[in-house]
């Protein structure tokens, strides 16, 4: 189809459109200029936007700090961290700098930066190239955490994040870069920028998820539908802020909640959603809340081991079946 793009292309298109629209936007990172991004997200942009899509030395911490300074001076830098695991080398600048500067300067300083970074297992990259760490950032006051699951969201959420006056950690799905395609459509979220998306309406069980797990959940939902279990799939889109109105509305209808994510379950963001719901939606719940997420292990290299770790449609199906039976 003419209008169809891959997820990676949607990211590129969003960058291009922001670069074209706002002269304050610059893109910084490793392998983004000469190579065009290891996942092609910046391919062709350096040529098209001369001097605004720039290779950095191999120095994540200075790069993020530099972007913070550039933001202070009026730019809107977008930083690419090549794999989410590498963001560990820049945590100080993100957490003690970007996240706290507005507050600790009493509002004098704003840091409108976006840190794009891909996560996901499933690509054979091994234990230091696959970790999901979005929960960390959602725990840090001052940050926004985005995690798009579709081509349209990859595009619109990135555009929105670049224009957001707050620092955004933008978690892309490397699994979906070349697997997910779709149209960008005419606009972003229906209601407000941080609104969740009802990826599938249903009456039996609410599945709350984000990123790559949305597609897995939808596939599970289709197959469960043949058994008479009618799932509602809520794509959170933003891990912080997350859309409590949408969750309330959904759970009040289905009375059953399961959260599915690829990050490790223990102390993962599912815990936040579940415990918020256990507190605020307690009387709407007919069954214990369930979480389905990665077990407590790094991501192994071998693909048959990797697939033990990452929740998939069949794991979702059996968890939901279990929950529906309650």
């Amino acid at each position: 189809m003419a209008g169809e793009l891959k997820y990676a292309e949607a990211i590129r298109r969003a960058l291009a459109d922001e670069l074209a629209t706002d002269p304050a936007v610059v893109v910084m990172g490793q392998e983004i200029e000469a190579l065009g991004g290891v996942f092609t997200a910046t391919q062709g942009l350096a040529e098209r936007f001369e001097g605004r899509v720039l290779d950095t030395p191999l120095a994540e911490s200075a790069t993020v700090g530099w972007a913070i300074g550039a933001a202070m001076a009026g730019l809107r830098p977008v930083v690419e961290i090549m794999f989410m695991d590498f963001i560990t080398t820049a945590m100080d600048q993100i957490v003690n700098g970007a996240a706290k500067l507005r507050y600790m300067s009493g509002g004098q300083v704003a840091v409108p930066i976006v840190i794009r970074t891909p996560s996901d297992a499933g690509t054979g990259h091994g234990p230091q190239h696959s970790q999901h760490l979005e929960t960390w950032f959602a725990h840090v006051p001052g940050l926004v955490v985005a995690m798009p699951s579709t081509v349209a969201d990859a595009y619109w959420m990135l555009r929105h994040s670049i224009q957001d006056d707050n620092p955004v950690v933008f978690v892309e799905s490397k699994y979906l870069y070349f697997r997910e395609s779709g149209e960008i459509g005419a606009t972003g979220a229906a209601d407000h920028p941080y609104a969740a998306r009802i990826a599938r309406s249903g009456r039996s069980v609410t599945i709350v998820t984000a990123g790559r797990m949305v597609a897995e959940s939808l596939a599970a939902a289709e197959s469960l539908a043949t058994e008479g279990i009618d799932c509602e799939v809520v794509d959170l889109r933003f891990i912080w802020p997350y859309d409590r109105e949408a969750l309330t509305e959904s759970v009040e209808r289905t009375n059953r909640l399961i959260v599915v994510h690829e990050a490790v379950g223990d102390f993962g963001w599912g815990g936040e959603v579940c415990s918020w719901a256990a507190s605020e939606l307690f009387y709407s719940l007919d069954a214990p809340i369930r979480r389905l997420a990665a077990p407590r292990a790094p991501i192994p290299f071998a693909s048959h081991l990797e697939s033990v770790i990452v929740p998939d449609r069949s794991a979702i199906e059996s968890a939901v079946r279990d929950l529906a039976r309650h």
Partner: protein
């Protein structure tokens, strides 16, 4: 066209006097803060730059108001030199609404963006890439400005500093890193980590940038060196590094038991021989009467600033949980129950 009031100080007698006055202002402010602490009228940590005033006054004295500065945990002197008002500083340290950050930041988080003071950073060396990025961005936005980032000798060990120098070399940015080698990183003697004074500059030169050493007890020498380097940085858009040697005269922070690692009167004896303020009085030269008059005027100024700060109101309790995100974002959140 540079507005005359935008001109940095030069080498005229009145310029030289201005450098002296800045040092006195810093000294008075910091001793004032100490008194407030000792009098139990202030809380929190405080890191005095006593003995190092020539670095702040000398380097920042070369800057235009539009130029930018980032600082460290020991940044009151830099703030003053860049034009921050003493009252605002004191009010911040008192946790008042009138403080530069409305009481949220405290002593290690002074910011005054209006006068180009981008801010302190309590994370050692963490502010260096901010200055680099801000200078680089400003240049792109057509502003003819430079940034100075202060860092301590201890901070030179931090990886982010090396990364920033590398990136500055690669990308180019009108940045001067001003390293105040005060012989100590808390209790760690600089010799143990870096070697003799000048070694830090030697190391920085290895990044392929101009790097100089200057003694920090002579504000005019610091000023001359910095002026020349900043001119060059401004003209070329390329980063440089200056190591300014001094001694930390006070304990690392207000209640640090420095007798555990330092001879108790080391600081005092340094001031007797190397006090940049006394040296400036000698070199200007100033008569004792003139010096006393200036010092008393500035002391009064600071005393008034302190009094004015005490007039302020406690920061409102609701401010504790607001101003974390942009106003629009927080409004949306209140509406939607985040």
């Amino acid at each position: 066209m540079t507005n005359p009031s935008e001109m940095p100080v030069g080498d005229t007698p009145s310029d030289r006097l201005k450098l002296y006055e800045t040092m006195v202002r810093i000294r008075e402010l910091e001793t004032g803060i100490e008194s407030l602490h000792y009098g139990g009228r202030m809380h929190g940590s405080f890191h005095s730059s006593m003995g190092q005033e020539a670095a702040a006054a000398g380097v920042i004295g070369c800057l235009r108001p539009t130029d930018l500065v980032t600082s460290t945990h020991r940044g009151h002197g830099h703030a003053i030199a860049k034009g921050m008002r003493p009252t605002t500083i004191i009010a911040e340290l008192l946790g008042l609404q009138q403080g530069s950050s409305g009481g949220k930041g405290g002593s290690m988080h002074l910011h005054d963006v209006a006068c180009g003071f981008l801010g302190e950073n309590a994370i050692v060396a963490g502010g260096v890439p901010w200055a680099a990025g801000a200078a680089w961005a400003s240049r792109r936005l057509g502003k003819d400005l430079v940034a100075v980032s202060f860092v301590g000798d201890g901070g030179v060990a931090q990886g982010v500093l090396a990364e920033t120098l590398r990136m500055a070399r690669t990308w180019g940015t009108p940045l001067l890193v001003a390293c105040e080698n005060n012989h100590l990183a808390h209790s760690m003697p600089v010799e143990r980590t870096f070697g003799e004074p000048g070694s830090i500059a030697g190391w920085a030169a290895g990044f392929g940038m101009r790097a100089e050493y200057v003694a920090g007890d002579d504000v005019f020498a610091v000023h001359r060196m910095a002026a020349e380097m900043i001119d060059e940085v401004r003209a070329t858009g390329r980063a440089a590094f200056v190591e300014i040697e001094a001694w930390r005269v006070r304990a690392h922070s207000l209640n640090d038991p420095d007798y555990r690692y330092l001879a108790k009167d080391l600081g005092k004896s340094y001031l007797q021989t190397h006090d940049p303020i006394a040296n400036a009085e000698r070199d200007l030269p100033l008569t004792e009467a003139d010096a006393t008059a200036i010092r008393e005027r500035i002391a009064r100024e600071i005393a008034e600033a302190i009094d004015a700060a005490f007039e302020g109101q406690a920061a409102p309790v609701r401010s504790a949980t607001t101003g974390v995100y942009s106003e629009a974002f927080e409004q949306e959140g209140r509406l939607r129950g985040w």
